[in-house]
């Protein structure tokens, strides 16, 4: 019997996967086809959603991409019933699309089950070795031994800071007190990052199991998932997983016949980026305003309800059971001197194949962008990658051979961050990018530290002035001065890293700042105030579409004759540029 899988992650669903699934169901019912139909999460190929996989009787897998309901019908008829695969739509193994290379350089630990198992089925997770690591740990390992294994693996926290996970666990283990908590940080606030969402949606049990092992190691009996409000599907699947695990007795008292007790709760965030910071997150779970506090004391000693608390990121936890089953050496054999294992990156922006890719540390930026990501969309020129979100920075394409690990990335002025990797091309303005992130941090600053609250606002004003064509010569120095003060006079990571996007763009793209300030020009033709529009008479067909689209009645011209834009009336909204079907409207 064949098996059919349809990916139902958030990305799949928004691309229409539910309709595809429905079409498959209908076909099965109508023709009474004998198959196993399964829902899975996301395998990372978000750019090809909706995805449908057909596994034939000899366990051969055929992955189809961009499967509309109509395509699904044909696949059902020709492949599932008729045994002849619809070659032209296959995107992995023997397909013509060339998307195979998306997986070639990947090494999947965190994403090992994503897109393969049904996230709503604990049995499927167990069929691929799930919950064996916790049993092994409970039977064979002392808590100290678990900590030793994790320390030896070299695993560093994947939430941004990159602190050695084993060492952090040890601190919490050694902290005095009977009651301890653990927290899974699923707040994933960095714009441009979605690996935690996808992991929770596609393989929630692996995160839960990692958390259980951690709880055993540090001696905690209660845990919390702190999940972003914007991730309803992740919350729903987590809730389901917890119920399943409870029903099997994997959560609760005397787990697997041991003396280990553990229960978990889910807390939904309420929309505040700063709550990803660990002390703010704790305040938020306690029901307070999510404001960071000064450390020490660290949460390991004084965390939730003032008890010793260990906080790790989703991806960190998803690595744990693999390390237990495969050994610290296997994990440590991948990566570089100071960064072991793999890292999941969320590829987005102007990249041809956007999605999730898990790669060994030490891979180069170019390998990710070209070999995995398929290069830049629409054949444009690769300009930079943004790593680390609002705390990170833009690394120019000229540094594409840089090997990705914590140290190398830090040297550039960016940070590894949580793994968002947004690719930019020649049409992206770097000053606008810096402004974009500053607006974000200014908005999300909790207001506790003066330099973060007011300093980011002042920086934003300067950047707005520059992109409006009103920049002054001394603005660059002013930005540097403010950046220095903010970095050094704030309590938490939000303020301490907020100037990074500005500093890195100043470092690698000073000419763009100059062009804006001195020449009042935006080289990327992106800043509205610095772009003028005109119509190429030879290309204009006189269709009057732009005339209709223009909100300020700035375009005139008779039908079938070339139109003209009155610069004086033009408000530079770009509507005509978007509307024109003949590329006759150009930016100057």
């Amino acid at each position: 019997m064949k098996t059919i899988k349809v990916g139902l992650g958030t990305c799949g669903v928004s691309a229409g996967a539910e309709k595809t699934l429905e079409a498959v169901r209908l076909a099965i019912e109508k023709e009474n086809i004998q198959v196993t139909l399964k829902e899975t999460g996301c395998n990372g190929m978000c750019f090809r959603e909706p995805l449908m996989e057909v596994i034939d009787e000899s366990s051969h897998s055929f992955l189809y991409g961009d499967v509309t309901p109509e395509k699904a019908q044909r696949i059902m008829a020709e492949h599932v019933v008729g045994d002849s695969p619809v070659k032209e739509w296959i995107v992995q193994n023997s397909g013509p699309s060339g998307d195979d290379s998306f997986f070639e350089k990947q090494k999947r630990i965190v994403l090992r089950n994503c897109g393969i198992i049904d996230p709503n089925s604990i049995d499927e997770y167990m069929a691929v070795g799930g919950y064996e690591a916790i049993q092994k740990v409970l039977k064979e390992y002392t808590p100290e031994k678990v900590i030793e294994v994790i320390t030896n693996s070299g695993l560093r926290g994947r939430g941004g800071g990159g602190f050695l996970t084993g060492v952090k666990w040890k601190f919490c283990r050694q902290a005095s007190g009977d009651k301890k908590y653990i927290i899974c940080n699923a707040d994933e606030g960095d714009p441009g990052a979605f690996m935690d969402r996808s992991t929770l949606e596609s393989d929630p049990h692996s995160v839960l199991e990692g958390m259980m092992i951690c709880a055993y190691a540090i001696g905690a009996d209660e845990g919390y998932f702190y999940v972003r409000a914007e991730y309803p599907k992740a919350v729903q699947r987590l809730k389901h997983s917890i119920r399943e695990a409870l029903a099997r007795g994997f959560l609760g008292k005397n787990i697997f016949g041991s003396a280990f007790n553990f229960s978990v709760k889910i807390k939904e965030g309420a929309g505040a980026f700063v709550c990803g910071e660990e002390t703010a997150l704790i305040a938020s779970i306690e029901g307070k305003r999510g404001m960071p506090r000064f450390r020490p004391p660290f949460p390991a000693n004084k965390g939730l309800w003032a008890k010793p608390t260990n906080i790790n990121n989703v991806e960190t936890f998803a690595n744990i059971s693999w390390i237990i089953m495969n050994g610290a050496e296997a994990f440590a054999s991948m990566g570089t001197e100071n960064s072991k294992g793999t890292k999941v990156f969320a590829l987005a922006g102007k990249i041809a194949r956007g999605g999730l890719a898990e790669v060994p540390m030490g891979i180069t930026i170019n390998e990710i962008v070209y070999d995995i990501g398929g290069g830049i969309k629409e054949g444009k020129k690769f300009k930079a990658v943004q790593m680390g979100g609002p705390s990170g920075g833009c690394i120019p394409a000229s540094m594409g051979d840089l090997k990705i690990d914590y140290q190398q990335i830090n040297k550039t002025g960016a940070i590894m961050g949580s793994g968002g990797l947004v690719v930019m091309d020649e049409t992206t303005c770097m000053v606008d990018m810096a402004k974009f992130f500053l607006r974000f941090t200014e908005d999300e600053s909790c207001g506790k530290c003066t330099f973060c609250r007011i300093g980011t606002k002042r920086m934003l004003e300067v950047l707005e002035r520059i992109t409006d064509g009103k920049g002054k010569e001394e603005d660059v120095d002013l930005l540097r001065e403010l950046a220095y003060q903010i970095k050094n006079n704030t309590v938490c990571g939000l303020g301490q890293t907020a100037p990074n996007p500005v500093l890195t763009t100043l470092k690698y793209f000073p000419e763009e700042y100059e062009a804006h300030i001195r020449d009042k020009k935006c080289p990327a033709h992106s800043c509205a105030a610095l772009v003028t529009y005109s119509i190429r008479a030879d290309a204009c067909k006189g269709c009057a579409m732009c005339v209709k689209a223009c909100p300020s009645e700035a375009i005139s011209g008779e039908k079938k004759k070339a139109h003209e834009i009155n610069i004086g009336l033009c408000i530079r909204c770009g509507k005509c540029f978007e509307t024109c079907k003949f590329d006759a409207v150009i930016k100057n």
Partner: protein, 168 residues
């Protein structure tokens, strides 16, 4: 899709609102404030003053402190919201892929500015930082449904569909 959204927001068991049920169930758990506020908002679509008073009474936290928590988190609203919540993503990937044009189109279509509710009460607009669907950018979320790879044209069509659905 709309029907599901409505039942979710609707009444809980025995005709009592979910929020009231949650309040009754409260037994002094620590950190219950935010879930209670979420429940109030889930039931009423926003947090009415009376809900603040109820929570204050039951949980024993001064109303002023509760107000402080409400205004800290962007999720909470003190004014009624539209029937449909439109979240427009302006995350990095969406920004790079021209989400500004999407925002402008929605604002023009609904005749609202920024985070406002339409006059007919059908839509509330919210600009959000990132919906985590970056590979499909630009993205918007209407209620719990995410829509990706949008163009100004597609958004216009989408809004029309929702409006027609509401008028049925």
């Amino acid at each position: 899709m709309m029907a599901r959204e409505n039942t979710k927001k609707g009444q809980g068991e025995n005709g009592f609102s979910n929020f009231k049920v949650e309040l009754w169930k409260y037994q002094g758990e620590m950190g219950a404030l935010i879930p209670l506020l979420q429940s109030a908002q889930g039931t009423y679509g926003y947090i009415p003053e009376s809900a603040i008073d109820h929570i204050s009474e039951v949980v024993g936290i001064p109303a002023a402190d509760i107000y402080g928590v409400i205004t800290f988190y962007s999720q909470f609203r003190l004014k009624p919201m539209g029937k449909n919540i439109i979240k427009i993503c302006d995350g990095t990937a969406c920004h790079v892929n021209a989400s500004t044009a999407i925002l402008r189109t929605v604002e023009d279509e609904l005749k609202v500015n920024g985070d406002e509710t339409t006059e007919d009460g059908l839509f509330t607009l919210q600009k959000v930082a990132c919906l985590g669907c970056c590979s499909l950018s630009p993205v918007i979320m209407i209620n719990d449904e995410t829509h990706g790879k949008l163009t100004p044209k597609k958004v216009t069509k989408l809004l029309k569909e929702y409006r027609e659905n509401c008028n049925e």
